[in-house]
């Protein structure tokens, strides 16, 4: 792990307000695990002061060409423009200098091969599920439930389908796929495939609802959480969530950056989760 001073390879809008950025990232292809993230430094000058956390969408390499004899490793981020940092990010071009700290955090546990897997992604929460699906399709049947407020929030459908993932789309306003909440689709799929393991990432209200459904059925669940982060390495203690068994007397705080961002649902305190995590999630 180190701080990598590198450059942007490309940066394109893929859906209104959503961008896909490719960054030169030597060393990432073999080390980055599904669910891990980077602390991204948008520019050397201020603002913003702090780095911003982003899940790794994909890691890979470009074959060697005339310019370089070595294959070039890269990672891709997909981000939604929500504030000062992402507003600057959207204006970055090929060749612009950026910095990456990572890959950071605990990623997904791929679970038992052959068993059925259901991935649930809301809006920008679809991002870390791609690498996960990429690994899982080799050994398991993977179903992906994609949810969002409106059709613009449903990103990367073709990419997921190309992996051989079965995709099911729902939007709250019915502008794409089934109308309504993603959780109703989840309930139906779990009725049909009760032996599935669920992996979820998205806005907190969605995660919370998914947890209730899985808890009632005893379905194993891994969730990827978001939190406000300053350091990303376990030093600032700004990103904590309450772990299972947390009490005022015996506090059990877990750092989202080092114990997460992916947690086994049973390791978290779901009674108090909403106050502890950024309520709005990344899907606004």
């Amino acid at each position: 792990m180190k701080n990598l001073k590198t450059i942007v390879l490309s940066n394109q809008e893929i859906s209104p307000g959503y961008f896909r950025m490719k960054i030169l990232a030597p060393g990432y292809n073999n080390t980055a695990k599904p669910g891990q993230f980077v602390m991204f430094r948008v520019q050397r000058s201020l603002p913003p002061l702090l780095r911003r956390p982003f899940g790794i969408f994909r890691a890979g390499f470009m074959p060697a060409d005339c310019d370089s004899m070595q294959p070039k490793e890269f990672i891709e981020l997909i981000y939604k423009v929500v504030g000062s940092g992402t507003e600057i990010m959207q204006r970055l071009h090929q060749g612009d200098p950026v910095e990456l700290l990572g890959p950071l955090g605990e990623g997904f546990d791929l679970g038992v091969a052959e068993e059925e897997k259901i991935l649930v992604g809301g809006g920008i929460g679809l991002v870390p599920l791609y690498m996960l699906a990429e690994r899982m399709v080799e050994t398991s049947r993977v179903r992906l439930l994609m949810g969002g407020r409106t059709r613009d929030d449903i990103i990367m459908v073709t990419e997921f389908e190309r992996l051989g993932v079965e995709t099911y789309v729902s939007t709250e306003d019915g502008s794409l796929g089934e109308g309504g909440m993603i959780t109703q689709v989840l309930k139906r799929k779990l009725d049909k495939f009760p032996k599935s393991t669920v992996f979820a990432c998205g806005p907190m209200p969605m995660i919370d609802a998914v947890q209730k459904i899985c808890f009632e059925r005893g379905t194993p669940l891994q969730v990827s959480l978001e939190a406000l982060m300053a350091c990303g390495v376990g030093a600032c203690l700004g990103c904590v969530v309450k772990g299972a068994g947390h009490t005022e007397v015996e506090p059990r705080y877990l750092c989202t950056c080092t114990s997460g961002p992916v947690f086994n649902a049973e390791n978290l305190d779901w009674n108090k989760i909403e106050v502890t995590v950024v309520g709005s999630g990344g899907c606004k």
């Binding site: 792990m1 180190k2 701080n3 430094r41 201020l46 603002p47 913003p48 002061l49 702090l50 780095r51 910095e99 700290l101 939190a227 406000l228 982060m229 300053a230 350091c231 390495v233 376990g234 030093a235 600032c236 203690l237 700004g238 990103c239 904590v240 969530v241 005022e248 506090p251 705080y253 106050v275 502890t276 995590v277 950024v278």
Partner: protein
């Protein structure tokens, strides 16, 4: 870079504070560097002047609810709530880790009563490898209506005096800027037996989410740090240096060598780097290299020759 002759020499970077020898004047600010371990993958801990730990209390402390942090203009607010493992677990696990490094370890600590301060200091007193104690007096005095020790010169004097009796280690007292006249608390700490002073701790601040109309921090009020506070910190260090004889460690918004130099020139013997560690885990190494380069370019043979050289 083009001044050839002066470029050759290797400037002396070592400084001394309260009898502790530091390789260079750069160390992390408490609470921004964990217990050291967190940054070891990114930075050679042996390259630092000292390591300053997260603040420790007698018992483990849970800390505040979230959100605990928020970014502001050129700075950040935090209300972590001094979450820590407690002094005993620190000695047993964290200190054992830090002992592999040659860098002096300064242990930051706090209490909510005079006696708690005294007890933590006493427990650290015979721990080998602890080079000095840094006493955080920006905590509420629960026995006296929650008034911050550091804002009440008498309470500060009493607490520092008590700690002084219970430790033989060099004692650094970390001052809060949230006072009307910092020279008064600085003198109170010195008179009570502090071997050095460090300042500034964070400035209290607040931010509001205008859509939800809620404070951005669960604790409502937090501590402001980062480049935004640097001019205030430089001013306060300048004032304290005039008021006391003991050495001063400058803290507040340092992220580049030039920032550190401002503090040294007004008279700080060393400096602490805080929020900048979050932005760049390598910040302190870059600052150390930058100080060396500045000395070389300016023909300064020893960094001590720069300290307290403010031209008025």
């Amino acid at each position: 870079m083009i001044k050839p002759v002066k470029n050759e020499m290797q400037p002396k970077m070592a400084v001394e504070i309260a009898g502790i020898k530091l390789k260079n004047p750069i160390m992390p600010a408490s609470g921004t560097f964990g217990y050291g371990e967190e940054y070891a993958p990114y930075l050679d801990l042996n390259s630092l002047g000292a390591i300053v730990t997260k603040g420790l209390s007698l018992k483990p402390k849970a800390g505040n609810n979230t959100p605990r942090i928020c970014e502001t203009v050129s700075g950040m607010l935090n209300a972590i709530g001094l979450q820590n493992v407690g002094v005993d677990a620190f000695i047993k696990y964290k200190m054992a880790y830090l002992e592999q490094y040659s860098t002096p370890v300064i242990v930051n600590f706090f209490g909510n009563t005079q006696d708690e301060y005294g007890e933590v200091a006493a427990r650290l007193d015979d721990v080998p490898g602890v080079a000095a104690l840094e006493m955080n007096i920006s905590c509420p005095n629960v026995k006296h209506g929650g008034i911050i020790f550091g804002t009440d010169p008498r309470a500060a004097f009493a607490a520092v005096s008590l700690v002084r009796k219970r430790t033989s280690k060099p004692l650094i007292v970390k001052l809060t800027p949230n006072v009307t006249d910092i020279q008064i608390t600085a003198r109170a700490a010195e008179d009570a037996g502090a071997d050095a002073l460090s300042l500034i701790n964070t400035l209290t601040g607040m931010a509001v989410d205008v859509k939800t109309r809620k404070p951005r921090l669960a604790n409502i009020i937090g501590g402001l740090s980062g480049p935004a506070i640097r001019p205030i910190a430089v001013r306060l260090v300048h004032q304290v240096v005039q008021a006391v004889k003991v050495p001063v460690i400058g803290i507040g918004g340092i992220s580049r060598a030039m920032d550190a130099l401002e503090f040294l020139i007004v008279g700080a013997r060393a400096v602490q780097v805080g929020t900048a560690n979050f932005v760049d885990p390598n910040a302190m190494a870059t600052i150390i290299a930058g100080l060396e380069e500045f000395c070389r370019e300016e023909g300064v043979a020893d960094i001590n020759d720069l300290i307290g050289t403010l031209e008025l």
